[in-house]
């Protein structure tokens, strides 16, 4: 419970620690350890009642209990130290008694410091508790959830939630443990003694001690508000400086560097003005609150005089010492209120996430007759319509389609025609709003895709490559295999098939090259090919590929089409590049959520009236303009 290493010799500890970047595993409380272990389980049994605060307190009740007990002991020790000091001032004691009092005081102080260190450690561990608590619950939820929808759950928001927002919650708990609790305990344990010593003047003094709170709260809110402005200004600056450092040559060509400097200086000035205002108010706030402790003393003396109290100096000072142990913490209380506001906003968002529906909610009960060896051969779309949750626009309407899983099918159409949605429906990423998708198995049986066993079967057979390439900030091999244990030869094979071999030849560490955050170290085309390699590595018999060729040159395009046509048993491919499509078995042309043409590519090409042949003759179908793409993104809630 109490780590004795904190008594370690300073120099020894320093030497041992600084010699290495590896920190020996640290002891942690049972509850934390338990929660911590749950992190590696896919669906652990955890407390999730819907009330975040209650859950937290119940989960870590031992930890919190120890913390409160530690603080209470500290307050009692302060009381004992005050009483000892009071006795020391009393010159009617004998010298001998006074010296014993000093020894007693020393022992109390010693215990106080040890308890203080112990609670300080418990208090810092609260950060770990909060992060474990939130991360664990978020992980569990995220894995259970289906497609996310709505602005609140954009990946950016979720990322801010885990990277910075949860610290607001941790700060709140930390603030309560560090300042709120001692203040409350001081009022409860020292307050009665002050009143016993001073009577009503003591009560008045304690009330005056809280006098600066409204001002402090009000100023604190102002400071908090300015925070947003300053953050925005810093973001703008980051953009401008980012533009500068990534376009240095251009700026020097244009001779615009002085101009950029001026611009930056202008923004810096604005930033500093805002920050100075904020900090000025902050300083007034600090200044008032750290000196406020003088007022309760004034109140104490004044009230004592007015009420004809006749307390002597020693009693008065004893009261002042105890009063100080309350006022010491009062100045931090407004921060707790302010951080409660932002913490609760964060908790609300978490709760909203926790209440989101799971994939399981969408599934139908198992049919019981689909075994793992049964192969799906066809997908039947029957009157399938789809619209995204918060819009009423039908992206697909009453679509009827049979997809043979042993065929290579290409899907073309304008941006916004519903291609990506169709692909997502086919691989069960999305559930149709109305209509049904049936899976036909090799034994001729047909079941709705959303029966849990059919769903599982179909998910095992499909390799899906989304339009937005996804890359994890780790090395290339893990990105392809999605696994830390992989066979190098298999990964290499996938990489060769995805035409990435030449690219990795240029990299120092080959397969173990880090791709960087969201793959910044790779070009757009490389990112796509890594995603393709992933689908190929999986060895799934049917591939669903969303625009895999948009960022590769024509040579590579041809070679990739070879791979795609020869590799899996069947595939469904959406694309804007038309030249290679004659090699697929079937072409689907989509427009406004409907399939307008369907047939053999050669046949369609020869039919001069067909949309396909017209687009082919006009060159490539027009690339999506940025604007439409952005709208599309919003619509999909991505």
């Amino acid at each position: 419970m109490f780590d004795l290493a904190i008594f370690a010799h300073p120099a020894k500890l320093k030497k041992a620690f600084l010699a290495t970047t590896v920190v020996a595993p640290q002891a942690m409380g049972d509850e934390l350890q338990r929660e911590f272990d749950c992190l590696r389980e896919e669906s652990p049994d955890i407390r999730m009642s819907g009330n975040f605060w209650l859950d937290f307190v119940q989960t870590y009740r031992g930890h919190i209990g120890r913390l409160v007990a530690g603080r209470a002991v500290m307050t009692v020790l302060v009381l004992i130290a005050v009483l000892a000091s009071e006795r020391i001032l009393d010159t009617s004691n004998s010298m001998n008694a006074a010296i014993w009092l000093v020894v007693f005081y020393a022992i109390v102080q010693l215990i106080l410091k040890v308890v203080n260190a112990w609670t300080a450690q418990l208090q810092s561990q609260l950060f770990v508790c909060v992060r474990t608590f939130v991360t664990l619950r978020m992980n569990v939820k995220l894995l259970r959830m289906g497609q996310l929808s709505g602005e609140d759950f954009s990946t950016g928001n979720l990322k801010t939630l885990v990277s910075s927002d949860i610290y607001r919650i941790a700060e709140l708990f930390h603030g309560i443990a560090r300042n709120g609790l001692p203040c409350l305990l001081g009022l409860l344990l020292l307050g009665p003694v002050i009143v016993y010593y001073m009577g009503w003047p003591g009560v008045i003094a304690m009330l005056v001690a809280f006098g600066a709170m409204p001002l402090s709260f009000w100023l604190g809110k102002y400071v908090h508000k300015k925070e947003g402005l300053i953050k925005a200004e810093e973001d703008t600056l980051a953009t401008i400086v980012g533009e500068w450092v990534t376009n240095v040559r251009l700026l020097r060509f244009l001779g615009w560097e002085a101009l950029m400097r001026q611009r930056i200086a202008g923004h810096i000035r604005k930033l500093v003005i805002e920050a100075t205002k904020q900090h000025g108010v902050n300083l007034v706030n600090f200044g008032v609150s750290v000196t406020w402790w003088l007022f309760p003393i004034v109140a104490l003396i004044w009230a004592n005089g007015e009420m004809n109290g006749d307390q002597d100096l020693v009693t008065l000072f004893a009261s002042i010492w105890m009063l100080n142990h309350i006022t010491l913490y009062i100045r931090f209380l407004p921060d707790i209120f302010i951080s409660y506001a932002s913490a609760s906003a964060c908790v609300n968002r978490l709760n909203q996430l926790f209440q989101h529906s799971d994939i399981v909610d969408d599934l139908l009960p198992p049919t019981g007759s689909v075994s793992v060896s049964l192969k799906p051969v066809k997908l039947h779309f029957r009157q399938v319509s789809f619209c995204y949750e918060h819009t009423s626009v039908e992206v697909l309407s009453h679509l009827n389609l049979v997809l043979d899983l042993n065929q290579g099918v290409s899907l073309i159409g304008r941006v916004g025609a519903g291609k990506s949605t169709l692909l997502k429906l086919a691989c069960a990423e999305l559930k149709p709003t109305s209509g049904e998708i049936f899976v036909e198995f090799e034994d001729g049986t047909e079941f709705n895709l959303w029966h849990s066993d059919v769903y599982a079967r179909i998910r095992e057979s499909i390799g899906y490559m989304p339009q937005e390439a996804y890359l994890s900030n780790t090395n290339l091999a893990i990105n392809v295999s999605l696994n830390t244990t992989y066979t190098e030869s298999d990964v290499m094979r996938a990489i060769r098939m995805a035409e990435l071999e030449a690219d990795i030849g240029h990299w120092d560490s080959g397969l173990t090259e880090e791709v960087g955050e969201t793959g910044v170290n790779l070009s757009g085309g490389q990112k796509q090919r890594v995603n393709l390699a992933r689908a190929l590595y999986s060895g799934r018999p049917y591939l669903i590929l969303d625009d895999p060729l948009s960022a590769v040159d024509t040579d590579t395009e041809g070679r990739l089409m070879n791979t795609i046509c020869e590799g899996p048993e069947g595939f469904l491919l959406s694309t804007h590049r038309l030249t290679e499509l004659q090699r697929t078995d079937r072409v689907l042309v989509m427009d406004a959520g409907k399939i307008i043409e369907d047939g053999d590519p050669a046949q369609l090409m020869n039919d001069r009236a067909s949309e396909f042949s017209q687009q082919l003759r006009a060159g490539e179908s027009p690339p999506p303009s940025k604007k439409i793409k952005a709208e599309q993104g919003e619509k999909n809630g991505t």
């Binding site: 000091s85 010296i99 020693v314």
Partner: protein, 601 residues
């Protein structure tokens, strides 16, 4: 697990420079420097008022009830007589608040304001460093240096200095107070402060390294968490949740482990420092007992000293904490000063060319006239790498349209960068007319060229900003006319997002052309985009060549032969040298054959 030594010798030697760095930091805060002396006085005064106030309280209470009581005693040799009334106490409290606030305001606000200079110095220095510096440093790191380090210096940096000064003043005042009780007890505060600083100097590097490791580990944990957020569907689809969870667990475990260690360090510091202050407090108590019983001390003074001792722990700990932040400030300041001290991009050039400083003179815009001559010119992109342009001899005749063509790596773009003096000069010279480009200032040289970049990047701001740049005195009419020349109709105040991504590539290219029209420079450098131009842009370029740019020297780095038909001269480059040159009529068929051969081969 690799065990690497965390503190490198460089870091150790850098940390020994901390005091110097902090002094340079404070010295660079110009506004603060001006008000430093009065500020320090206020700080000491502000630190002294509260103990004095308590003393005063004690005196009032001791002589409470005496008729016409006023407190009369001497403090540090000054005779102070104050009426012992409620209003005096309130007045004193208000003075205490006022002093505290103004001490902070004077120090920290003026300090914060002054940091602008550090930022602008950094920017100035970075805008004059070699362009290769930017290739060697990832942009993220640069942004972090230019803004992240600055933002820490701006607030926390100034605060750490201010708080340290303040903390020292407070300790000093308490020391004086205790000294009044007994000189030895008061003087003992010095070794105690030193002990604190010594402990803190053990603790601070551990804390800061723990923070560094923590940042790294938390970063890794966040990457895995991001995997789950962004790649959820992918991991789900391929059934790899288990592996991902395992990785999250490991990364998270590491980051939490270091956080727990950090908590231990904190507790460790709290304990040792607390014990020292407890020891000191006990010693002071001993002196008080002795003083009280031998009649040397009044109860008032003893009570006031006890009050001070009660809070001593906080005071010491605060001071030690602020001092450790000074170390952090020093490391940020060191990085900022590193940026400020970067060498100018022309450093080293003078060694090669061996020209005196005096020869560098400003030549106003438009003064350089004549052919551009590369005379046995050699350059490289890094200091000690093989030459890209190797003893290049080339004359680009004034007033003509010149197309430069060649394969990737032939040295086409290097020509342009050499003209702008953005490369390492290795041999020979470049002259414009009779003047060597190394004889004039870089700014003046660059001012002679108008450029159409390969990637038509637009900067965040307005169309007007992107069109005018640093130009002054251009009316809206002129701007609109320039836009009209290239066939654009746009609102001058329309917003442009970062990179101009809300405009199509064609529009961006046309805007760059409009900018060129406005600039009216004698020498035009055009870097043709590698992907095909859209037809509208191409038409405008061809038309401009014969109208607005008819009498200018136009040098085009071409990627397509077709665009060069109307040119005066075509230069084919290979391996950093001129392979062939001649008029289009002769060159185009030659080059076309070669292209066909290459494709066939």
């Amino acid at each position: 697990m690799e065990h690497k030594n965390f503190v490198t010798p460089e870091e150790v030697s850098a940390e020994q420079q901390n005091v110097k760095t902090i002094l340079r930091f404070v010295a660079s805060l110009t506004l603060l420097r001006r008000v430093l002396l009065p500020t320090l006085l206020i700080i000491v005064f502000a630190a002294g008022v509260p103990p004095y106030f308590l003393w005063f309280v004690g005196e009032i209470v001791s002589c409470y009830g005496a008729e016409g009581c006023s407190v009369h005693h001497s403090l540090l040799g000054w005779d102070i007589v104050l009426p012992a009334t409620l209003s005096t106490l309130i007045l004193l409290t208000i003075v205490a608040i006022f002093c505290r606030v103004s001490a902070w305001v004077c120090f920290e606000l003026s300090g914060q304001w002054s940091t602008q200079k550090i930022q602008s110095d950094m920017m100035q220095s970075v805008s004059e460093v070699r362009t290769t510096f930017f290739d060697e440093n990832p942009s993220g790191r640069l942004i972090n240096r230019l803004l992240g380090d600055y933002s820490v210096l701006r607030l926390e940096g100034v605060m750490s200095v201010g708080d340290t000064v303040n903390g020292l003043a407070e300790v000093l005042c308490v020391g004086v107070l205790i000294m009044l009780a007994h000189p030895v007890a008061g003087l003992l505060i010095l070794p105690v402060v030193l002990l604190y600083v010594a402990l803190q100097s053990q603790l601070a590097p551990m804390m800061s390294h723990a923070r560094e490791i923590r940042a790294v580990k938390i970063g890794e944990a966040l990457h895995r968490e991001t995997d789950l957020i962004e790649g959820r569907t992918i991991f789900n689809l391929y059934g790899r949740q288990k592996n991902l969870l395992e990785r999250i667990h490991v990364a998270f475990g590491d980051s939490m482990n270091i956080q727990l260690f950090y908590a231990k360090l904190m507790a460790w510091g709290m304990l040792w420092m607390g014990l020292i202050s407890a020891l000191y407090a006990t010693v002071v108590y001993g002196f008080l007992v002795y003083g009280l019983h031998s009649g040397l001390l009044t109860a008032t003074l003893a009570a006031v000293v006890i009050t001070a001792v009660f809070n001593l722990n906080n005071l010491f700990f605060g001071l030690a904490w602020d001092m450790s932040f000074l170390g952090e400030t020093a490391s940020h300041a060191r990085r900022a000063f590193f940026m400020i001290d970067l060498p100018h991009e022309t450093t080293g050039e003078s060694n090669v060319v061996k020209r005196s400083e005096a020869a560098v003179q400003r030549i106003p815009d438009g003064r350089l006239v004549g052919d551009i001559v590369f005379d046995h010119f050699g350059m490289s992109y890094r200091e000690n790498t093989p030459m890209i342009l190797n003893k290049l001899n080339l004359t680009l005749p004034a007033g003509k349209k010149i197309g430069v063509i060649g394969r990737t790596g032939a040295g086409k773009s290097s020509l342009m960068q050499a003209l702008f003096r953005m490369v390492y000069h290795q041999a020979g010279d470049i002259r414009i007319g009779k003047t060597s480009i190394y004889d004039i200032s870089v700014q003046s040289l660059r001012g002679h060229f108008g450029v159409v970049p390969q990637d038509p990047y637009l900067f965040m701001g307005t169309i007007r900003f992107n069109l005018m740049g640093g130009l002054e005195n251009r009316t809206d009419k002129e701007l609109l006319a320039a836009l009209d020349t290239v066939g654009l109709t746009m609102d001058l105040d329309a917003r442009v997002a970062e990179g101009g991504k809300d405009y199509s590539v064609g529009e961006r290219q046309l805007l760059c052309l409009a900018r060129l029209v406005l600039l009216d420079k004698q020498y035009i450098l055009m870097d043709e985009p590698t992907s095909s131009l859209d037809r509208r842009t191409d038409e405008h370029i061809q038309r401009l060549l014969t109208t607005e740019l008819a009498d200018k020297t136009v040098i085009t780095i071409a990627h397509r032969l077709e665009s060069l038909e109307s040119y005066d001269l075509i230069v084919e480059m290979a391996d950093g040298q001129v392979r062939r040159q001649g008029p289009p009529a002769r060159m185009i068929p030659l080059l076309r054959n070669q292209y066909v051969e290459e494709v066939a081969g």
